[in-house]
């Protein structure tokens, strides 16, 4: 974090601070909206974690601590933009309109996707680190060829930033001046590996080496994330090319529900980050500066609760797919091995509702 290059406009205490380049353009209702989003996705995430503990999900990748990074970036998008997430961007999916139920389908292991990516203009999760970043750049090259006033956004982590595919994306985005915004959520950890293993200087510097802007943002400051992202998206749409935004944040929970972070990191570190909580600082802003009433905040909590309850119900009702469905949509056109497999499975007596 080097001085002015670290964009923060709302402190952990919920105080506004001036930044030479960025100030918040949002009014009370909009800030409240961001708060609502963050509360909801956090609650949703907690519900997923307990569903996993109860054996209802195969896995869950919690976003806790990264709500501001994801909601700030997600809400800066226009409807026509297109997003390419990794596997932890539940907050972005929420902003794009993906339903919580759809988000959890992959984690209940009933699909490898989960939703219609063209409907939401939000791609399905990508598990292989970095692969989606090239897709975003290619999609952005398509936007250019269409002469469309749209931007593309893609997400990856501090760990993924070491992958050749991510770095090649930087080459391409620069060479083709592609309308893409790279959101690097530096949550300090790649499973057990600290971000310092992937880079010895802050990650946002990489962009400059490729000839496009890199900016480090307080990823726990939703106002800063919103403003920086919005400006980068505008730049992209207006032909100004790519931007790398490093959202400096923290993964408060485990990598996934299969992970045991006590093996590699100390509680004290988590404690420090608790004081930088992205939701609490907006709450402080809302109550202090905007004098928001307790009741309004409570209503958000209640709404989140209702969504979580509904989610639980939806998940429990989610059945295993028909085994025969594994033969669907492998190919767009008929294929003899697909027909053969389907026939063999039917002969084995595997049927719907198995």
């Amino acid at each position: 974090m080097d001085g002015d290059e670290f964009v923060q406009i709302l402190t952990p205490e919920g105080q506004r601070v001036a930044h030479p380049l960025y100030e918040s353009s949002l009014g009370r209702d909009e800030v409240f909206g961001l708060y609502r989003d963050m509360v909801i996705v956090r609650r949703l995430c907690n519900e997923a974690t307990s569903l996993q503990r109860q054996g209802q999900l195969a896995l869950w990748a919690p976003l806790q601590g990264q709500e501001a990074a994801q909601i700030g970036a997600g809400r800066a998008l226009e409807a026509n933009d297109f997003t390419f997430p990794s596997y932890r961007e539940h907050g972005v999916a929420w902003c794009r309109g993906v339903t919580p139920k759809e988000m959890l389908r992959i984690f209940r292991a009933v699909t490898n996707g989960g939703w219609d990516p063209q409907k939401y203009r939000h791609s399905v999760p990508t598990v292989v680190l970095g692969d989606q970043v090239l897709h975003a750049v290619g999609y952005a090259m398509g936007v250019q060829r269409d002469g469309a006033h749209e931007a593309v956004m893609t997400f990856f982590g501090d760990g993924a930033s070491s992958q050749g595919d991510v770095l090649e994306s930087f080459v391409w985005a620069a060479s083709f001046n592609a309308p893409v915004v790279f959101i690097l959520q530096n949550n300090q950890w790649a499973i057990s590996e600290p971000a310092s293993l992937q880079a010895r200087i802050p990650l946002y510097h990489r962009a400059q080496g490729f000839g496009f802007p890199g900016i480090q943002v307080d990823g726990n400051d939703v106002l800063a994330m919103y403003e920086v992202t919005r400006r980068a998206l505008d730049l992209a749409r207006d032909g100004g090319g790519p931007t790398l935004i490093e959202a400096y944040t923290y993964r408060m929970g485990a990598h996934t529900t299969s992970d045991d972070p006590t093996r590699y990191r100390v509680d004290a570190e988590v404690e420090i980050w608790k004081h930088r909580d992205p939701v609490e600082r907006v709450k402080a802003l809302l109550t202090r500066e905007y004098r928001m009433k307790r009741a309004a905040l409570d209503e958000v909590t209640a709404q989140a609760e209702a969504i979580a309850l509904q989610l639980r119900e939806d998940v429990l009702a989610m059945d295993a797919p028909d085994p025969l469905s594994m033969f669907d949509d492998v190919y767009a056109a008929p294929h003899p091995l697909i027909e053969r497999g389907r026939r063999e499975m039917i002969e084995l007596g595997v049927s719907e509702g198995h």
């Binding site: 692969d131 398509g142 936007v143 994306s169 391409w172 492998v330 767009a332 056109a333």
Partner: protein
């Protein structure tokens, strides 16, 4: 019927041109495919005529070439990717296997992965290492992909167009040693479906299956065998994944003998697949074991000795002798 004589390289060029004229969403992307027209000149003149937005010279990164083609496919474009040589496709392997092959399925059919990956493959041109590989088995093994190979200019002209029109991702293998051989091209009518195997020469003693460069080798062997009274039926597989098994089964059922010829190394190859499958399906018809004539299980050797590595007419005839002598 308007036919004309041209090389396979030219036929591919004309086929690409026609596909680009027919559909504005068709793009070409690859290394040196613009001004240079590709190292084999397959895209010669196309950037001049269709512009830099549709014929894209790519920075040198194969994973990015394929990965961005995936993004373009999601946006509704159909990108024909040129990998400069077979041996340079491996950096893109992850994108091909984990994304190209699986995204249609992963999105329940929402994303159409209509892209074609052109691969000048096989050896025989006296090149240095990595310029003569036969990687088709890697792709055929991968569910979600299709693999085809042309062996004549007419097939080249039509198959490239059919592949571009097709909605599934296709690895399009071009036998580079045949680029400069000429043949008749029918400009009006495709000779076959993209996934059809074709009997190139009829015969009744032995079925011989080949593809790409080896079709010609097989035909030469058949000629030589005929002189010795052995009648060989030569099948050009054309589609390597999936195989058009019906044509093959019919032939083996008739001949009772099978020789498969491929430039690829033997282990877990397409030759293994054909031998396994046809040994199973034609169990009672086969009068001798199905034999595979392949390259050896060694890296592609320096090209001064490559003709000892690639199946030769002699080696093919040797296998023919063996299946003929098995019982009889």
């Amino acid at each position: 019927m308007s036919t004309t004589t041209m090389t396979m390289a030219r036929a591919l060029n004309e086929g690409l041109r026609r596909a680009m004229e027919a559909n504005k969403k068709v793009l070409l992307m690859g290394e040196d495919i613009g001004k240079l027209g590709g190292v084999f000149r397959i895209t010669d003149g196309l950037q001049k005529d269709f512009g830099e937005d549709r014929v894209i010279d790519a920075p040198l990164a194969e994973s990015a070439i394929v990965g961005t083609a995936v993004g373009l496919a999601i946006r509704g474009y159909r990108t024909v990717v040129e990998i400069q040589f077979d041996g340079f496709v491996y950096p893109a392997f992850d994108q091909i296997v984990s994304q190209v092959a699986k995204l249609h399925k992963r999105t329940d059919g929402v994303y159409t992965m209509g892209l074609v990956i052109r691969l000048p493959f096989q050896g025989g041109i006296g090149a240095i290492e990595h310029h003569s590989e036969s990687p088709e088995a890697y792709f055929a093994h991968t569910a979600g992909l299709r693999v085809v190979s042309c062996a004549t200019p007419n097939d080249a002209y039509w198959m490239i167009q059919q592949a571009i029109e097709h909605d599934d991702p296709i690895i399009f293998c071009e036998p580079k040693s045949r680029y400069w051989e000429k043949g008749e091209v029918d400009l009006d009518q495709p000779p076959h479906g993209l996934f059809d195997a074709v009997v190139r020469r009829e015969g009744h003693d032995v079925t011989m299956i080949a593809y790409g460069s080896m079709v010609k080798t097989a035909l030469r062997a058949a000629e030589a065998a005929e002189a010795e009274g052995v009648s060989i039926e030569v099948i050009d597989a054309r589609s390597l994944a999936p195989f058009d098994l019906d044509v093959m089964i019919e032939s083996v059922t008739k001949t009772g003998r099978l020789v498969i010829v491929q430039e690829a190394p033997p282990t877990a190859s397409l030759g293994s697949e054909l031998a396994a499958e046809l040994s199973e399906r034609c169990f009672y018809s086969l009068r001798a074991p199905a034999l595979r004539v392949s390259a050896y299980h060694v890296p592609y050797p320096p090209s001064r000795i490559e003709e000892h590595f690639r199946p030769s007419v002699d080696r093919v005839l040797d296998a023919v002798d063996r299946v003929m002598e098995w019982e009889s």
